[in-house]
Amino acid sequence: MRSSRGKRAIVLGRLAGHVLVAALCLETAARLDDKFSYGAPFWRYYDPDGLRAPDAEGVVRNVPGASFEKWRINALGFRGETIALERVPGRRRIGCLGTSETFGLYERESGEWPARLGRLLKEKSHPDVDVFNASVVGLNRGTRQRYVDKYVLPLRPDVLVLYLNVLSEASYRPPLPGTSAPPAGASLWARLPASRVLPKLRRAVRKLVPDSIWRRYRVWSLSRAVRRGEAAVLGTRPSADVLPAEAASRFEAYLRDLIGAERERGIAPVLATYPTLGAVTNRERYRAEFLDERIWHLELSELGMIDAATRLNDVIRRVGGELAVPVADADAALPKTSDYFSDYVHYTDAGAELVAGTVFAALERAGLLESGVTPVKRVETVERPR
């Protein structure tokens, strides 16, 4: 006769066994699903963070051949179709340099604006122009030029569309000397194969929850995160409602340097203003989106983010005018509604289509699509991408 404690232990053991079997099956199903849907490895690490990594010199770039779900990096380290490293005589190249909004996040596969720009050019009788998406998620002022020199210049673009995230530029701080980010996956924990089923189940649960309840939950949880972040970063200081003047000046100086650097390298730069969802009139409506973005710019209040975008976009327009650089005014083109924005800075398919159209119009206005117009002074000393 077993004691009641022994019976309870057996029942609990069996229950734990069922939970373990269920968890293993769910994880196996998720891995098989990834394998058949995206060709993902069954055992190895499979995560969006695997799409990019710092190289030996600390320059963050996309990992050639990496893929995660709909995101695929080509052999040269860019999102989209592979293009030949060597140029074909008579064909022109346009590079699009931005961060996650240009890399593409929420759009359908091949729906990011550079891919749409490529299709638009072909539709509008410019089949001799190739567009490549040179964006890297999180690319910032610290490594941008080094990245361009090392990985973009070997493709010898005639035109480089500089799509700068003005919010990141507004809150950019150069890293302290002697510090650098640890390489991804360095710790043992990070190298362990992470669960693939949990993110999928989380997404499934999200779909089950009615939108109104989900938004309330997000506002609540993001408000908490922002409050905690403010306490950690700002202490008792209030966040700024207006972008500090020196931040705008620093950005202007950087922009002028960037344009000069591209021109020196024989590339015709094209600027784009940076659209965001935020406006003074829609703060309540898009509360969750505001909070979600604020986590990255805690020194700026919500009004501060709106002000920063407005002022830095004005800087882009002014500098473009002064230095005779074409400006694609995407900020003016995109209505500030969720029809065009999936979150505060990333686009829906409709938003990406509008951005592509705006960039196309700017290129056309500047005559950069006409054969033989772009002055190209080649820089031959750059490395090939590894």
Binding site: H18, V21, L24
Partner: protein
Amino acid sequence: MTFGSPEFVLFTLVVLTACAALDRSRRWIVLLVASATFYAAVSSIALLAILAFVTVISWAAALGSERHAGTRRANWFFWGGVLFPLGALGLKYAGFFVENVSAIAGWMGRTRPIAAMPVVATIGLSYYVLQALAYLIDVREGTVPAERHLGRHALALAFFPKLIQGPIERAGTLLPQLREPRPIAIADVAAGARLFVWGLFQKHVVADRLAPFVDPVFSDVRHHPGLPILIATYLYAAQLYFDFAGYTDMALGLGRAFGIRLTPNFSSPYFARSIAEFWRRWHISLSTWLLDYLFKPIQMGLRHWRTWGTPVALFVTFLASGLWHGANWTFVAWGLFHGAWLAASVLYRPLQRRIHRRLRLTDSKLLAVAQVALTFHFVCFGWIFFRAPTVGDAIAATRLLVSQLPATLAQAIRGNDLEALLYLGQGRGAFLAAVAAIAAGAVLRALLRHSGALTSDPDEQVAPVGLPAAYLRTATYAVLVYGIAVLGTSAQSFLYAQF
């Protein structure tokens, strides 16, 4: 709130909790209120009023018919009770009737058009009206006693798991379960949940995945060559089965959770060796209803016609079956097609048996396979009429299927234009996923049936399974949950709810 949606699951959990918390004698109140709330949410207050009207009339008519049994007054009660629900069912056909009368008037030279009737959505009406009619007939024939408790009678008609798409329950099996409800047991809730999950899988992972292949072809059937129509027809056969069987399993699972056994509607219908057998395996609750309350009385009435009595009874029964499915000539054509084939098969069966005996094929496995394949293709051919928007479209589809199949098949074999011909414009990956989903549905169904996990009967004693089998079952349900949560496509409405 749609059947199987998250809101519906939450609603069911609340109702189940209330039932478990309350005294068993009061459970009918909770279930009746829940059923009325559900019906109002999925249809309209007007349809809820019609349901209440049919309920009260059938309840009173059955009581009157029983009390005055053997007298002329019993007939009045009976026919009154039958005509009112049939009148309510007329709502479904009013538009169809007016449209056709108008067309006939037009042919006869009448120039003034007859005002068109609006199409009325009659969710669930066809199902509970049949149930009310069966109840009245059963009471009249003394098969079941009239129910004195209006609430219980109302619940028998409106029990929410089976209200909008059946199964069409008989008073003789459902009312006793409502009179003496079983306690809400963890084992029943668990078994019911398993059935429900399996039903959701069939609906969201298999059936809904097939809709994007089928719908574009049948909505523009005249512009598709032979092979796409053939593939869309096969996929529609799978879609219809998994959609309806999925719903039925969910309903059976919910019934079981509440301690109520509902009638299974399917028994591997596409493995039938003849059309008669198909109808014993497909939508069983409707087939048996038609058999008992329509076919048998007609057959009895025509028994002096000798050889022709049964075929004519079958023909009429399936004409009615077609009309029951919808107010459209396509359903009439589909019903006539099945009726004609069944009628013919009654006539040629003796000859068929003689041939089989002569050729020594009676127990041949090859013959069985050939019969299954032939029956399946016959049924699929019928589905063209069932799915096409008009009879003209169905005829056009048949013509294109016959005339262009060889050429398009040859093209596909050569590997030309596979995207349009084979994948129906959805891409190779999506097509393979759809085929894999059908295969997974079929294999899992076989596995679950074999393990006894699909029983809807709380009284059925399933042998306790050993530990490995229990773990295997857990593993299977984990895969089903993954399929529903991650691979399930956006929900489409149930196909059979429109009938």
